[in-house]
């Protein structure tokens, strides 16, 4: 296990009344090594707050946060994690190269190793041409990509990304998804990223952590999440010399009975498939169930 959050509670003080407003309630989840995990939830449900607690940008009232089996704020832990916040802004008057050198040096990378790493990463994020350009000349997509490069500069074992794809055009999103996938494939990095863009999470992640109202509602394999709730079976059969037909059946019992009936009528069973549901639909059904409960 690479990351473990156990009963994390966080509240903020109201600026005027100073009344505590709790935003995270016993948040617990864990992430296995070498996986891409999506942190899913609507806006304002506690994704960024949880991530900020993990990074050390926010203090918390109670809970145990461990990364690589150590306290999450240990120096040795921070040397192994990369982080990209939501809508990042960086130092305007540094070039891409200076910017990456700065972050590399802060993480203990130096000399020729750092030079090689900068060259490799600028190539990986498609900014080789912008090495000497000042960051204030960068577009939003370019900033997001150079931000990814800074997060990867020290070959982190765990990459934490907060809404890395929000606000990007489709092309920019595709590029960044490829970079994340590359980091996972080539750099052997475990990736934990929050998003409310379900298509991209669906495309990238094997595992999910789902948060709602400051409480964790699911932590496990994406396939298991998608399978929650009733799923239909699609039965394809054919009568002699006729076109094949498909029937939608909502339970296993009914499916067995239907197969028996069709066979007794001399019809041929071609295939039985469980209905595939997109993450989008599964999430929407999940939310509806939560609201109804």
């Amino acid at each position: 296990m690479i990351l473990k959050v156990d009963k994390l509670n966080k509240s903020f003080r109201h600026p005027w009344s100073l009344k505590a407003i709790q935003v995270l309630f016993d948040v617990s989840f864990q992430i296995e090594k070498k996986s891409i995990v999506g942190f899913l939830g609507a806006n304002g449900t506690g994704k960024t707050t949880s991530i900020k607690c993990l990074i050390g940008l926010l203090t918390y009232q109670s809970g145990k946060l461990e990364i690589f089996g150590e306290h999450h704020l240990n120096k040795s832990v921070k040397q192994k994690i990369g982080y990209l916040p939501e809508r990042p802004y960086f130092y305007n008057y540094l070039t891409a190269e200076e910017f990456l050198t700065f972050y590399g040096q802060l993480s203990g990378v130096r000399g020729k190793e750092l030079d090689k790493r900068i060259t490799h990463l600028l190539e990986l994020v498609g900014l080789k041409h912008a090495r000497k350009m000042f960051l204030n000349q960068f577009s939003k997509g370019m900033l997001q990509r150079v931000g990814m490069a800074q997060a990867l500069i020290h070959k982190p074992q765990l990459l934490i990304l907060d809404e890395p794809l929000s606000g990007l055009d489709p092309d920019g999103r595709r590029q960044l998804v490829n970079i994340i996938q590359n980091a996972f494939d080539e750099e052997d990095t475990t990736i934990f990223f929050s998003s409310h863009l379900l298509d991209d999470i669906d495309r990238l992640c094997q595992d999910l952590v789902v948060i709602r109202g400051g409480r964790i509602r699911f932590n496990g394999a994406k396939d298991d999440f998608v399978d929650i709730g009733p799923r239909h079976y699609l039965l394809r059969y054919q009568e002699q010399d006729k076109v094949s037909e498909t029937m939608k059946i909502d339970s296993m019992d009914k499916l067995q009975k239907t197969i028996d009936t069709l066979r007794s009528q001399g019809k041929e069973i071609h295939s039985v498939e469980q209905e595939k549901v997109s993450l989008d639909r599964a999430f929407s059904e999940f939310n509806n169930r939560e609201v109804n409960q």
């Binding site: 982080y83 960086f90 130092y91 008057y93 700065f102 802060l106 203990g108 130096r110």
Partner: protein, 256 residues
């Protein structure tokens, strides 16, 4: 491995030295200093005394203004633009970060002060005034005062917006220069509440006038060594005290 404090300080220096806004402020400051010198020229008899006094006064005001501007804007910008998020995610403590920022800004201020010193000498030469080494003690005082002021702006910036930080730092600067005059005011005013307020302020605020060596420049005399050492030592202690205060606030700060 380079110390994270050094890396942050170097980055702060590079980032600031390339900022165009800084140059506008510096150009304005130089023009203001030149204007102060020009006003000194209006004197009939005491051209040197008045020019140097007004010139150094102009530099003093501009430099204090620059310190407050840099201290409040740089720190606020770092939080507002969230560049601090990615920095604090690195293996760097908040103490190292804040100290790095402080050193980086001090380095900028030292560079700017050197620039002012060159301009000051240049203007004196242009006006045909004699160059006195005793004039340069004032610059040492300006630097130590800015070290205190910078630590104070850091303290304000950890919990307030720039307007409030600038106002608070400005008030600190003014009170710091007035506390030494409270005794003469107390002689004239016998109100108990005024006495309590004045005595409290004298204990809470550092006396920034102890770093004002302009009168030595005007009198063309050297600052006594013990006064130099005492004032610089006290300034270092006050700067450390305010920096520690800022650090205590910063270490507990939530970046919401």
């Amino acid at each position: 491995m380079k110390s994270p404090t050094y890396v942050v300080a170097k980055n702060t220096f590079i980032e600031m030295i390339r900022d165009r806004v800084l140059y506008f402020v510096v150009i304005f400051s130089i023009l203001f200093m030149a204007l102060c010198f020009a006003l000194g020229q209006l004197s009939y008899k005491e051209i040197f005394r008045l020019s140097v006094s007004l010139g150094l006064g102009g530099i003093h005001l501009c430099f204090a203004g620059l310190t407050i501007f840099l201290g409040c804007s740089v720190f606020f910008r770092e939080i507002e633009k969230r560049t601090i998020y990615t920095l604090l995610a690195r293996p760097i403590t908040r103490t190292q970060y804040l100290f790095g920022k402080y050193l980086g800004l001090l380095a900028i201020l030292l560079t700017l002060l050197f620039g002012f010193l060159v301009c000051f000498t240049g203007i004196q030469l242009l006006l045909g005034l004699s160059i006195e080494m005793t004039s340069y003690y004032a610059f040492v005082g300006f630097f130590f005062e800015s070290a205190i002021l910078l630590a104070v702006t850091f303290g304000f910036s950890t919990f307030s917006k720039p307007f409030l930080s600038i106002s608070g730092s400005l008030a600190f600067f003014l009170i710091g220069h007035w506390v030494s005059n409270f005794d003469s005011l107390l002689e004239a005013n016998h109100s108990t509440s005024f006495l309590i307020a004045a005595r409290t302020l004298q204990r809470v605020f550092p006396d920034l006038e102890m770093l004002n060596w302009r009168q030595f420049a005007i009198a063309k005399s050297h600052v006594p060594l013990y006064e130099l050492g005492y004032s610089m030592g006290m300034a270092t202690l006050w700067a450390s005290f305010f920096f520690l205060g800022a650090l205590l606030l910063f270490r507990r700060k939530d970046f919401e």
